[in-house]
Structure formats: C-alpha cells, structure tokens
C-alpha cells in the first residue's frame, strides 16, 4: 500500500517498476484512496463449491462421506477432547455399525429354538432405542448437547464393540474351549472399557458437574448390554 502511494507521488523515479507499471494509469488522488468496491472472494468460491457437488461424480460424493465417517472412526479409536464428532454430526457411521453388529449377532434362521440369541430386529431396536433413551435422559437432566449430536456420539462409540464382535467370531472358528472363552472375555472387556472412555470423553462435558454420574451411568448400562450380547454369542 505504501508503494502504491509513493509511485504517483514520485513520477521521476528513474528505475522502472515492471511490477507496478499499470498503476500509473489508475487515477488515484493524492489523498488516501479509501473508496471502491470490495468484493469478498470467498462468496464466489462457495457458489462454485455448491454447484460443483451437483456436478461431481457419484464416486467423489461417496468418497467424501466415507472419508468423513472414517475420520470420525479415528476420533473414536483415539479419543481426545475434540469437537469434531459433535460439530459435524452424521448418522451414517452409527447406521453402518449397527447394521454390521446386528447382522453378525442375529441367530441363524434355521435355528428356530425358542431361547436363542437375539434377532436382527431386537439388536437394532436395542441399539437405537437405547441411544434415544440415553439422549432424552441427558437432555432432561439439563445437558446442553443437541439430540442428534448425542445420537451420533453414542452410535460411533459402538465401533470398539463391533471390532470385538469381529474378533470373537474369528476366535470362535478355532473351536470352543475355556481358553477360547478367556480370550473372548478379555477382548470384550477391553473394548467395553474403550467404548465407555470414548463416549465419556465426548459426552461428559455437556452435563453440569453435579449430575455427571447420573448422565454417564445409562451409557455404561447400554454398552454393558451390548457387550453381554457379544459375549454370549454362540454360533449354531
């Protein structure tokens, strides 16, 4: 800015300035020129962005959503006190996790005995209605977290338990036995603790301090029930 003011004031400068050569053509008054239009370049960029999501390929749309989901998975696996899960909530991740878990946990349709494991619908209902109940409980106790943010956090924190389910199914391929059971018990306990730590890292701050335990206890019960379903899974 200082150079622009100097160049009309010093027309007799011997050294040519190819960088500011065009400036002499502009009529700038001797006073400080504070006038003109200021365009915000960001707005045009956003318009470009919006129209480009309509025209982009399906592949890039899906990859963008998958990357967002994957980024949140990383936040769950390495829980730090960050706001990413809360700010850009989405329910794709919880849906993928819940469907995967329910598909793996459901009992075989050929095995129609009355007292078997849960059906697909039972797991689905437990996960979603459990999450809704915990969210309502948290809001009724006076927490300042929005409904879908809380659902998002609770759903994403099922990821360690889904990993535990995968490991348990692999371990069960080796055949039953006490060692088998000990390994599964250890894996499920570790993943249960991981889920609790991850969800508490995100949810605990939204409650007033004298009610934090009241809001965290239902989360504990929720993941305990899911861990129990994983641990008692017996393939027929």
């Amino acid at each position: 800015m200082a150079e622009a003011e100097e160049s009309p004031g010093d027309p007799g400068t011997a050294s040519p300035r190819p960088l500011f050569a065009g400036l002499s053509d502009i009529s700038i008054s001797q006073d400080i020129p504070v006038e003109g239009e200021i365009t915000i370049p960001i707005r045009s960029r956003i318009r470009e962005f919006d129209s480009s999501t309509l025209n982009e390929s399906v592949h890039s749309t899906i990859m963008r959503d998958l990357k967002a989901v994957g980024k949140k998975f990383m936040h769950v696996l390495y829980p730090r006190k960050s706001n990413t899960l809360l700010r850009d909530w989405d329910l794709w991740g919880p849906l993928i996790l819940c469907v995967t878990l329910a598909l793996m946990l459901q009992r075989d349709s050929a095995d129609s005995e009355k007292d078997g494991g849960p059906q697909f619908a039972e797991v689905f209902v437990i996960v979603w209605f459990g999450a809704v109940t915990i969210t309502l409980n948290s809001k009724l106790l006076g927490g300042n977290i929005s409904f879908f943010q809380s659902l998002c956090v609770l759903g994403y924190c099922i990821l360690p338990l889904t990993v535990a389910m995968l490991i348990c199914r692999l371990v069960l391929l080796a055949g039953p036995g006490p060692v088998n059971f000990m390994v599964r018990l250890f894996v499920v306990i570790v993943m249960f603790a991981w889920s609790i730590v991850a969800s508490t890292a995100f949810l605990a701050d939204s409650q007033p301090p004298n009610r934090r335990a009241l809001a965290v206890y239902p989360v504990f019960l929720f993941y305990f029930v899911i861990s129990w379903m994983i641990l008692t899974f017996t393939p027929q």
């Binding site: 078997g116 409980n137 017996t234």
Partner: protein, 317 residues
C-alpha cells in the same frame, strides 16, 4: 419428664416455622436436617403414641405448606419439555441419598416425607427398573453357564427372550401397582381428614426406589446354594416391604383397621410374588435329564453325577 416434652415440642415448632418461611430450604439445606431427625427419632422412641401423633400433625402442616408452594410452581403445561424436566431435577448426591434411604428403612422415617421432600423424581424409578430387568436376564443366563460348567449335558443358549420378559414384567409392576395404589388411596381420601394422600409420582418413586434392594439380591443369587438363595430372598424382601409399609403406614392409619390391614398385606403379598416369580422363572434349578435335547442325552450315560469330584464316569456302567 414434662420439661423434656416441652423441649422436644419447641424443636418441632422451630422446624415448622423454618419450613413455612422458606419452603425451598427443605430441599437444599440437608446439613441441619439430620439433627432435627435425630430429635424426632428420640421423641418417637420415648412417648410412642404422643410423639407419633405430633409427628403426623407436623408432617401434615409441612405437607400442606409445601404443597401450596408446589401448586404455585406448576405453571408449565404437560405438553412442554420443561414440565418433564422438572421430574429429573435431581443431583447425584440426592439420588444416592434416596437409594440409601430405601435400603435402610426405619420406623420413624417416612420415605416420602424425609427423602423425597415433595420433589419426586422419575430418574430413580426408571433406571432402577431398567437395571433390574437387565441384571435379572444377565444373571439368569450366567447361572445357566455355571450349571453347564458343572454338568456338560445341559444345553446352553443365550435365552435372549428373557430380557423382553424381564423388562415388561418389572416395568408393569413398578408403574401399574403404584397406579392402583394411588387410585385406591384417593378413593378412600374421604375417610382421612388430616393426612393427604401421596401424589402419583411419589408413589411411583417409593416403589421404584424400593426395588433397588433386589439388584444386589439377584447378583447374590448366582451362588448356587438353594437355602442361601432363599435366605437372601427373604432378607431383601423384608427390607423392601418394610420400606413400603413404613411409608404407607401414616396414610392408612386413619382408615378402618380392616382396610388398613388388607391394603398393607396386599402390598407385601404383591412384592413377595414379584420376588418369588423372578426366582422361579429366571433361576430355574435345572435337572440335566430334562434340559438336554434328545440327541445329546442319547450320547451320554445316565450315571454321570452332578458333582465333578466323583470319578464314577470312569467306572464301567
């Protein structure tokens, strides 16, 4: 003796004046409450009917004052969120306090008046029922696991339908029985002049918190010794029913003896039915011949004993 009585009577008046001036103080200042409760307990112990009658009078005065204040505060309609938020207006320490009060019922301490203090909450009943339902299903399944360890002929299955049965039965008990009780007490309201009935939420609260003692009882039922299980069951049932009876006694006392006796015995009987039903349905004692499916039973000789220490399976049949 007369000087001691006058002294305790003055204590009651001070407490009533305090409550009349600042009705909210009853819910927040709990530090000085234990001392006055201690004096109340002494008065009831020394002169039984006189002290108890005074306590009932003071309780009815306090209740009337607190209910007036509560009616002034019941402005939000039932369609607003803040209406339901008023039922969850409890802190962690308050919930723990109420749980402790239900675990240790004392004759002079009415659960509703001394712990709820006209601020019933729905958090306790709801989550205690949820915990009890899941603990019942989980421990029932665990006993099957442990039984299978001892006797491999028992067929293990996750028995997930028991979760549904447990949930429905516990929630129905904890909400329908207080509804019936509340309705009955309101119907008999005309007979009693002085002590008003409890509100529906207070009745639900009393029942919900009284179910808490069943949670450790169910966990202790994992120990597979039958007489110990019945002992724990009787203990827990006694504690829980005592809490209910002590809470209901001031309300039904003015009624006719027949109605009071019938009501209290019905309450205790229903509670006992719940405990017995849970024991019999979720913790069935399993004779191995009845449980094993036919293809497994055919492969095992019938003289394998339950106790694994006897090596009779090695003996030729």
């Amino acid at each position: 003796m007369a000087a001691a009585d006058e002294l305790t009577f003055h204590e009651f008046e001070e407490a009533t004046n305090l409550l009349a001036e600042t009705p909210d103080a009853a819910t927040t200042s709990r530090s000085d409450q234990p001392t006055s409760q201690g004096h109340v307990a002494v008065a009831v112990g020394s002169g039984d009917s006189y002290g108890a009658e005074d306590e009932v009078e003071e309780e009815s005065d306090k209740a009337a004052l607190l209910q007036e204040k509560q009616q002034q505060q019941q402005q939000p309609g039932f369609w607003t969120f803040s209406y339901y938020q008023s039922f969850f207006d409890v802190d962690t320490s308050q919930v723990l306090d109420r749980i402790k009060g239900s675990l240790l019922p004392r004759p002079g301490h009415n659960f509703v008046r001394h712990y709820l203090r006209n601020r019933p909450d729905l958090y306790g009943p709801f989550w205690i029922c949820a915990t009890l339902a899941f603990v019942l299903a989980v421990t029932g399944n665990l006993t099957l696991v442990l039984a299978q360890r001892r006797d491999p002929s028992i067929h293990y299955s996750p028995q997930f339908h028991k979760v549904t049965v447990a949930g429905i039965s516990i929630y129905c008990y904890a909400w329908l029985v207080p509804l019936a009780l509340w309705g009955f007490l309101r119907w008999r309201k005309g007979v009693r002049e002085r002590v008003g009935p409890y509100t529906f939420l207070e009745t639900v609260c009393v029942y919900g918190y009284s179910l808490f003692v069943f949670i450790p009882m169910v966990v202790l039922w994992l120990i597979p010794v039958p007489w110990l299980q019945w002992l724990f069951g009787a203990l827990a049932l006694g504690l829980s029913a005592a809490g209910l009876v002590f809470t209901l006694w001031p309300v039904v006392r003015e009624d006719t003896r027949l109605v009071a006796a019938a009501l209290l015995s019905t309450v205790v009987l229903l509670h006992a039915l719940l405990a017995t039903g849970c024991k019999l349905y979720f913790f069935q004692s399993l004779p191995p011949e009845h449980v094993a499916p036919p293809h497994q039973a055919a492969s095992l000789p019938t003289n394998i004993p339950l106790s694994p220490t006897l090596p009779r399976s090695m003996a030729p049949s």
